[in-house]
Each structure stands twice: as structure tokens, then as C-alpha cells.
């Protein structure tokens, strides 16, 4: 690949411009968050006396402790179950090749491009009938269902690519289907499962529509849903709003930075394969 020096340079310049544009909103929010409370901040202006205490105020105002707990509970309710049942279904459809599997798989594919808005209204009444409105279950249960098209699709793609000889060998060893699944297939599927787990975590944490429709109490919502409520409450206090938004972003950012390699891999595969 012989790019001329000039071409390489313009490429670099564009890339750096892109990075600056990507980062500016964050920097601008930080500069606003550090202004003294009650002032009207402007654009990007490093405060002469940064008010780091604003973050402490926002932490209390947003009730961050409760929000973190709520988001974690929702993630704990959604992610392990989704990953487990999607892996089982992927195994059933991709390896066991159950009779009628093609039809079932087609049914799952149907949901792959479904906008959540298309089902949110009936879900509201369904949750009402079940008496689950305003509980975290109202977010957890529908999300598991809504993730199935992608998750099953993803795991099935993995299991179709696993050579059947492997299962045949295990069969000769006399292991049951469950042993084969749990002891042989799941450990082998670890990379696919890890990527899926990351995506499910991210989508759950950032889920907004279901949170605002099905749960009124912000402290029972996901982080994104709670942020919506926070904006409604503190929308006029720009300094606090920016501080609160940055705080609410932080957990995702930390998790992202720790697992960034896996995240990026998952996101790239997620969009290409999905």
C-alpha cells in the first residue's frame, strides 16, 4: 500500500479533525459543569475557579446511588437470562437442527429490524394487566424478549460454524445432550458469548423508550431513563445538568475503557454480522 506522503498527511488531518469533533461536546459539557452555580456559562470557557463541588451536588440531586443500583438490578435481570436462553436456542437451531427450526428462525428474523416503538403501546397495557407497571420487571421482561431476534441470530451463527464432528465425538463418549451443551459447546462459544454479553449490557444500560413509558419512578429506571427525568427536573440549571449528565455517563465510560478492545470488537461484529 504505497500512499504518497501528502495523501497520508491529509488522511491524518481528517482523522484528527474527526477526533476533535467527537470530543468537543464532552469538553464543552465539562467546562459548563465547572462554572459557579447560578451563572450562565458560555460555549467553551475554562473557569478561573473550577467548581468540582458541582459534581457532588449533582450526585445528590440525581440520587446517583439509587440510580446505579437500579440500573445494575435491571442489567442483572436482563443480561444473564438473555445470554443463556439465546445460547441454548442458538445451539438448538444451529447444532441440533431441530425439526421446524427454519420456521422458528424465520420468526426470529422477523423481529430483527423491529423498532421498539412498534410494540411499546401494547406492552404498556400488557404490563398493566400483569400488575408490573412501575416495577423494574416492566423493563426487564420485555427487553429479554426484544433482544431475542438479535441474540438468537448471533448465537446460531456461531453454532452453525462449529463442526458437527465435535458433537459426534462427544456422542460417542456417551455424554447427554445437556452435558455436550454445557461442558463442550458453551466453553467453545465463549468469545461469541462475551461479545453478546457486552452488547446486551450496553443496550440495557442505555435503554430509554421502555424506561420512560413503563416506569414513572426515575429511581426504578435504567441510567438513560433516569437521565431523561434529571433533564426534566434540572433542565434550566445548565451547570448542574451538565455535571449530572457527565456523572451518569461515567460508569459506562469506565466499563468501556476497561473492556474497550472487546467492546469495539463486539460493536463491529455486532453491526456486520447482525
Amino acid at each position: 500500500m504505497n500512499l504518497s506522503r501528502r495523501e497520508q498527511l491529509t488522511g491524518r488531518v481528517f482523522l484528527i479533525a474527526l477526533i476533535v469533533v467527537t470530543l468537543l461536546p464532552f469538553v464543552s459539557m465539562l467546562s459548563a459543569a465547572l462554572q459557579p452555580r447560578g451563572t450562565v456559562p458560555s460555549g467553551l470557557e475554562w473557569p478561573s475557579d473550577p467548581q468540582w463541588g458541582n459534581f457532588a451536588d449533582a450526585f445528590t440531586a440525581a440520587n446517583m446511588g439509587a440510580l446505579l443500583r437500579s440500573s445494575l438490578l435491571i442489567v442483572a435481570g436482563v443480561v444473564p437470562v438473555s445470554v443463556l436462553i439465546a445460547t441454548m436456542a442458538g445451539f438448538g437451531l444451529g447444532q441440533l437442527r431441530v425439526p421446524g427450526g427454519r420456521i422458528v428462525f424465520g420468526l426470529f428474523l422477523l423481529g430483527l429490524t423491529l423498532p421498539f416503538e412498534a410494540v411499546v403501546t401494547p406492552l404498556y397495557y400488557q404490563m398493566q394487566d400483569l400488575g408490573l407497571l412501575n416495577t423494574r420487571w416492566a423493563i426487564i421482561l420485555p427487553l429479554i424478549g426484544l433482544y431475542m431476534p438479535f441474540a438468537v441470530f448471533w448465537m446460531r451463527a456461531h453454532f452453525t460454524n462449529v463442526p458437527v464432528e465435535l458433537s459426534e465425538a462427544a456422542r460417542v463418549d456417551g455424554s447427554s445432550t445437556w452435558q455436550l451443551f454445557w461442558r463442550v459447546q458453551v466453553p467453545l462459544a465463549r468469545p461469541a458469548i462475551a461479545s453478546l454479553t457486552i452488547l446486551m449490557f450496553l443496550w440495557t444500560w442505555n435503554q430509554f423508550l421502555l424506561a420512560i413509558v413503563l416506569v414513572d419512578d426515575a429511581t426504578k429506571r435504567t441510567m438513560a431513563g433516569a437521565l431523561g427525568a434529571f433533564q426534566g427536573q434540572w433542565g434550566t440549571d445548565l451547570v448542574l445538568l451538565c455535571a449530572g449528565s457527565l456523572l451518569i455517563l461515567t460508569p459506562t465510560l469506565i466499563v468501556f475503557l476497561i473492556f474497550q478492545r472487546q467492546f469495539i470488537k463486539a460493536l463491529i461484529q455486532g453491526s456486520v454480522k447482525g
Binding site: 482523522l15 437442527r97 397495557y125 451538565c242 459506562t252
Partner: protein, 317 residues
Amino acid sequence: MTSALGSAPTGRDDRRARPTPTRAHPFPWARAAGTGWLYVLPALVMYAVFVLRPLVLTLQYSLYDWNGIGVARWVGLDNYLTVFTDSDLLKIIGNAMVLIVFFSFIPVALGLLVASMVRRITTGAFGTVVRTILFLPQVIPLVAAGIAWSWLLSSNGLVNQALRAVGLGGVARAWLGDFDTALPAVGVIGAWVLLGLCTILLVTGMSKIDPALYEAARLDGAGPVREFLAVTLPSLRQEIGVCLTVTIIAALASFDIVYISTSGGPGLQTTVPGLEIYRLAFSQRQVGLASALAVVLMLLVLACVLPIQRLSRGEKP
């Protein structure tokens, strides 16, 4: 969830996969006993109860006039008639179409531009930093992006500050509150969110292109433009298809960004179908009409996405 929808397994993957498609069934006993179904069942039940059932109900509601509490009245296709004739609703659907330009075309075009110049992001530390930063907008909640950009585009925000600094203070305004600029301003937020993803997908695709193709093109005397049209574009067809699919769904089904940054205003300037469904169903109690709009939105997504899938997955020339 929309962020990761794309094409079915790619041609590339298929080649690596399944050495021989026809072989004996590996689990005759499982097949006979139907054990296999036990593995599929939990996922299927959750999907049926929380997706398929509501989907059928949406279809059903769309044929009724219902306020969500009282008795529903059968109205046949009247709600659909309203969706396709009411000027407000048509405008709202049009808004979503306009957003496609910003959410889809701009990120893909800019992404292609960057990709064709960078070709591959260095693998070292610089590359990691670039990838990490460009993915940030994908990781944060869209709500946060909406709040950040509402601030940037406000009268005292960074955008106006920059304009004033270069002597363009005359055009400064509250971009999201202005009748003419609100929709493009919302579009810019979406473009910001999706640009990094598209760029990285396209650059990743770019690095898989055989450099010999470029050398051959250069030997044939092709300039940068011809090279782009003859080598880059066809080789990236699949990646472009993925980018378009993901971003078009994001545009048509947009909700979070609009809800936070403008709530659909001023007037109906930035109202999108997702927001209108929410409003109709939960504020105005017109569940039937909301459901008809939901069905139309669903079909619109399919109508846009299926042709792209077909085009990008077809045999490469």
C-alpha cells in the same frame, strides 16, 4: 438495539463456514425425542410473549378507535387513511425521511472520504486511541448525546461562540429552537453519533482490500477519483450496506435524541414518527391511530432496509 442490526451472515463468513453442507444429522436421538426443542423453547416463549403478541395487538389496535380505557370501536382502515392523508402526520413521516440524509448519507459519505484517505488506522497505540475515541458516541446513551448537543447548539453554546469568533455572529441563533434550522440541527446530532461507527466499519473494510488492486489501478493510470470508483467503492459494498442499514433504522426509528433535544418542536418541525406514536398513545389517548402509525413505521423500515440488503449481499462483480 437498532445500533447493531445489519445484514444476515456475510458472504465472507459463509466461505469460512460449514465445510460440507450435507451430512447425517448429528443427533438422531435428539431429533426423535424432540429434546432439541427444549433448548429453543425458552427464547421462543419470551419472544412470543413480549414481542410477537404485542406486535399482533398493534395490528389489532390499529383497526380500532380506542382511548386506552373505554370500549374500542371498530373503524377498519380509517386510521391508516388518516396516517396517509393528515398533513401533520405526513409531515412527521417526511421529517424522518429528512433525518436519513443526516443520520445516514452524511456519516457514510464522510466515513468513505476518511476511509479512502486513511486506508488503515495504524495498529499501534495511535490506532487504539483513534478507535476508542471514535466509538465514544456509540457507547454513551443517546440521551446524553442529546443533552450535550442541546447545550452546544443553544444561544450561548459552543457553536455560536465559534461563529462569533470568526465574525459570523449574524447567523448565530438557538439552532434547535429556530423553525428553519431545528430539523437539520437534530440531524447533526445523529450524524455525530453515527459518524465514528461508519468510519471505523469502512476503514476496517478498507484494510481488507488487496493492495494489488490499487497498484493495478495506478499502473492503468487511474487517478484518485477513478481509483475510488473502480476499486474502493465496489470492494466496500458490503460495509456500505451495513452502515446504511444501521443508520437508516436509527433515523426512521429515532426517538431518544429528539425527545431530549427538542421534544419535537418548534411546532412539528422535528417531530418524528417514534415521538408521535408515544404522544398519540400516552398523551392524546388515540391508541388506534398511534398503532396504525407504528405499523406504517415498521413497514417503512422494511421497505428501506430490504432493498439495501439485497443490493449489498448480491454477488460481487
